[in-house]
Symmetry: C2
Subunit: 306 residues, 2 copies
C-alpha cells in the first residue's frame, strides 16, 4: 500500500567524539525514505535547491524503492543545510548552524498522483505546514507526525490542532515532557492521547522507545551496540522502518494503527535505526539488505525475550 | 537453596517531588531481603545500633521468609542513618546526610550456621569488607556484588581484587562508566567482564537494565509506570528479586549463573522494583503477595513481547 513521506533533504556537517563528516546527505525525508524502502515503495515529497549535488541525487539509486516524482528542485533556491556537534556520550548535541534555504520557502506540493497514498508520515515541519499536507492526501488511512521543541514553544496552537487530525505522534522524551509538563513518560504519553492521537511513540535514544496506545503500552529497549558513530537520522530511520513495515505488511492493512500493528512495526524501526548509527549519513544503510535487517531482528528478539 | 545477603539496615529521611518520609526503615539489606523473601528463605547479615526502633524490628514479621539470626544489635552503637532529596524527574538525588553509626565500625560476622549458603549477595560496602564476607561463605555457588562510585574513586584496587573472585557485578550506568571510562554501556559491560566477572548488570533506573554476560546480552526496559513515589531501594529490591528467584528456581541450580538463569531472574527483579517505587520505604512491598508479582510479570511480558 502506498506510503508517502514529507520532510527535508539537506546537506549536513556532523561532528561526533569519534569523527566528523562534512557536506553529507541528510534530512528527515532522506533518512526516512531510505529506511522505509527496505520494506517496499515509498513516495517522497521534498524540495532541494539548484545547488543540490548530482552525487547526492545518485545516492537514491541505492534505494530504488524511493519514488522521486515528488522531489522538487527549485531554481534559484538553496538546499537546506544543518550542522551539529555531539557531546561525549552522544545523547545530546549542539546545533552549530541552520541554513533553511528552500525549507524556509513555500512547501513542496504533493503530486496529484500521490493523492491516493494510504500511509502518510509528516516529518518535522511547522505544524501548519504539516496540516496542509494532510489535505493533499485525502485517501490516507494512517497518518503519523513528528514534531520538535521549537514548534511546541512557538506554534503550540497549530500543533494541538494538528494532533486532533492524526493517528499517531512520534517525539523525543524531552519533547513529550515539554508538550505535557509531565515528568513521567507514561503520564506524558497518556496526556497526549487526550489531545487526539490514538497512539504516541516516545523516543528515548539509546534507551529505546515507549508506545502509549489507547489499547495498551509497549516498551522496547534499543538494540545494544558498541558501534556508535553518528546518531543523526536515527529517529527518522526509526520512523521509516516503522511506517515502511506497516505499509508492506498484509496483515496490518485492516487496521494499520492497531496496537499489535504498531508494536510489531516498532521493532523494525528499532533495527533500522541500529544500523543508521553505525556510520555517518546513509553510509551504513547503503551497505545492508533486508536480509541483514531480518537477521538482526531475530538477534534482537533473542536479547529481549522473556 | 540458601541465599545470604550482607549490607545495611538503617533509618532513612527521603524527600521526593511528591512527598516526604522521615525516619523510615531502609538500607540495602532490608530492601534486598524483603524482595528476595517473596521467592523463598533469605538469610540476612547486618548490624543495627541499640537505638533500632522495636517497630522496625516488627516490620520483619511481614516478611516471614527473612531469617534474622544474622541481625546483630550492637550495644552502645547507633543505627545507620541516611537522608536524600530527589530531583524533579526522580532520576537523580542529592544526599542530605549520612550518619554511618554501626556501619562505620567492624562489620557483622556471618553466623557459623550460614556458612553453607549457596547464593551470596554483597550489597554495597567497602570492597575490602565485601571480600571478608566471601571467606565466611565457603560453600557459595553464585556470588553477586553491588558497588558504588565512592569505592570506584577511593578503593579501586580493592574493588578490582574483589571482581576477580565473584560471578556477577550489579552497578548503575554512571558507575559503569566511571569504572571503565567507557561512555557506552555495552562497551563498559564488556570491559568489566575482562576484569573477572562472568556477568555484569548495568542498572539504568527508569530505562531498565542491561545484562552483559559472557554468553550473551539482554536488554530489558523497566516496567512502565506512572506511580512513582520514591525510587529509594529500587536497585536493592531489583537485586533481591533477581537473587531470590534464582535461589528458588529448581531449574537454575545446575548452573545458576548461566545466561538463561540470570536473564529470567532479571525480570523478577524488574517486577519487584516496580512495586518498590510505588510508595516510601517498604510500604508497598508489605501490601503485595507473590500472586501480585506473578500477575505483573505476565503483564510486563505482554508489554515487551515481540
Amino acid at each position: 500500500m502506498p506510503l508517502l513521506v514529507t520532510g527535508t533533504i539537506g546537506m549536513d556537517d556532523v561532528v561526533t567524539p569519534t569523527g566528523h563528516a562534512q557536506q553529507v546527505l541528510g534530512g528527515s525525508c532522506m533518512y526516512f525514505s531510505a529506511a522505509a524502502s527496505f520494506f517496499g515503495p515509498v513516495r517522497l515529497v521534498a524540495a532541494v535547491g539548484e545547488d543540490f549535488p548530482p552525487a547526492f541525487r545518485d545516492s537514491f539509486k541505492q534505494f530504488p524503492n524511493v519514488d522521486l516524482a515528488g522531489l522538487e528542485t527549485r531554481k534559484g533556491s538553496k538546499t537546506f543545510r544543518w550542522g551539529a556537534k555531539y557531546h561525549a556520550n552522544m545523547n545530546s548535541r549542539d546545533t552549530l548552524f541552520t541554513e533553511l534555504g528552500v525549507v524556509g520557502e513555500a512547501p513542496p506540493k504533493v503530486p496529484a498522483a500521490y493523492a491516493d497514498s494510504k500511509f502518510l508520515f509528516l516529518a518535522n515541519s511547522p505544524p501548519a505546514v504539516q496540516a496542509q499536507f494532510l489535505e493533499q492526501v485525502p485517501a490516507r488511512k494512517l497518518t503519523v507526525v513528528d514534531t520538535m521543541d521549537i514548534w511546541i514553544d512557538t506554534a503550540k496552537a497549530d500543533l494541538l490542532a494538528l494532533l486532533k487530525r492524526v493517528d499517531g505522534l512520534v517525539l523525543n522524551y524531552d519533547e513529550a515532557e515539554l508538550l505535557t509538563k509531565k515528568l513521567n513518560s507514561v503520564s506524558a504519553g497518556r496526556h497526549i492521547l487526550d489531545l487526539g492521537p490514538r497512539f504516541v511513540i516516545v523516543k528515548k535514544g539509546e534507551h529505546g522507545c515507549l508506545l502509549i496506545h489507547r489499547d495498551g503500552i509497549c516498551s522496547l529497549p534499543a538494540y545494544p551496540t558498541e558501534r556508535v558513530v553518528d546518531p543523526t537520522g536515527c529517529g527518522d530511520t526509526f520512523a521509516g522502518g516503522m511506517m515502511g513495515s506497516i505499509a508492506a505488511d498484509p496483515s496490518a492493512q485492516k487496521d494499520p494503527g492497531s496496537f499489535a500493528s504498531i508494536r510489531r512495526a516498532l521493532v523494525h524501526g528499532t533495527i533500522v535505526a541500529s544500523y543508521t548509527i553505525e556510520a555517518f549519513s546513509l553510509d551504513r544503510l547503503k551497505q545492508i539488505t533486508l536480509g541483514d535487517l531480518t537477521n538482526r531482528f531475530d538477534e534482537y528478539a533473542g536479547m529481549v525475550r522473556i
